[in-house]
Amino acid sequence: MKFGVIVFPGSNCDHDAYHVISKHVGQPVDFIWHRDTNLTDYDAVILPGGFSYGDYLRAGALARFSPVMNAVKEFAARGGLVLGICNGFQILCETGLLPGALIRNRDLHFICEHVQVRVETTETPFTNQLEGGRVLRIPIAHAEGNYVCDDATLDELESEDRIIFRYCDERGRATAAANPNGSRDNIAGICNRERNVLGLMPHPERACEDLLGSSDGRDIFRSLAATLAAIV
């Protein structure tokens, strides 16, 4: 199995993602420059966090026009696994691979802290090694992480079991107080209808070593690897 980490101008979590795949998942991984247009060698691609194109216009809006994004769309349509983290999630929404949008945090601050998220479903290639309802401690670092969508989209996400992570407190309760940025329904991560494209605002790649305060993010990457081990 082979992983790719896409590098946009302004990506800054690309090395973290690369490190996690090579060290903790133990699989081959390449950086993919945003001008590349061939993803045929890869089984999973990661759109990392950062500030692609300086967040000009809207976060993720200009990255959508990078040459690699057409390849990502085709890759996703073929069933390839796509993981968008933070700015990667914003790009996936702007590209239309995921529904909804991410707007300024409710309280305007850039928030950089560890939060709790609850695993809402294990029926995805990204969470199948986790237990449903488990509370993960993972950092967030964003100014535009406030997930919004219309009522019809929310109903669809709910009924199709596509809300993958919700912000919660230590005891796993998705309360308003545990919602750091005002996201609708405490949503921290969602997937597409085909379940092969996941976007989330928290940074699991920054939570893979106890030395960094948490290793809870590791099981997301392990799930991804386990999924690929079964099919590749």
Partner: protein, 82 residues
């Protein structure tokens, strides 16, 4: 030929920046402000050979596909001479 494009948040979409701006102008002594909504304004110089209708079509497409995000924003296009 110039296009003016106004992008505004849809009604009901939270605008924390607008709220913060409202608070600041109130501190300046302005009262009775019910609401402030922040938007974006673009000026696009278009090919002068385009006629009005084609200029509007082009600017509308830019507004719809790039300048605004239809999930959260509305847009309005004006075409002006020079």
């Amino acid at each position: 030929m110039r296009a003016k494009v106004y992008v505004t948040l849809k009604p009901g979409v939270l605008d924390p920046q607008g709220k913060a701006i409202q608070h600041s102008v109130e501190l300046l002594g302005f009262n009775g402000i019910a609401d402030v909504r922040q938007g974006k304004y673009f000026e696009i110089a278009l090919d002068p050979s385009l006629d009005g209708e084609r200029a509007r079509d082009a600017a509308t497409r830019m507004a719809r596909e790039v300048l605004s995000n239809p999930v959260i924003e509305d847009y309005r296009v004006e075409i002006v001479e020079a």
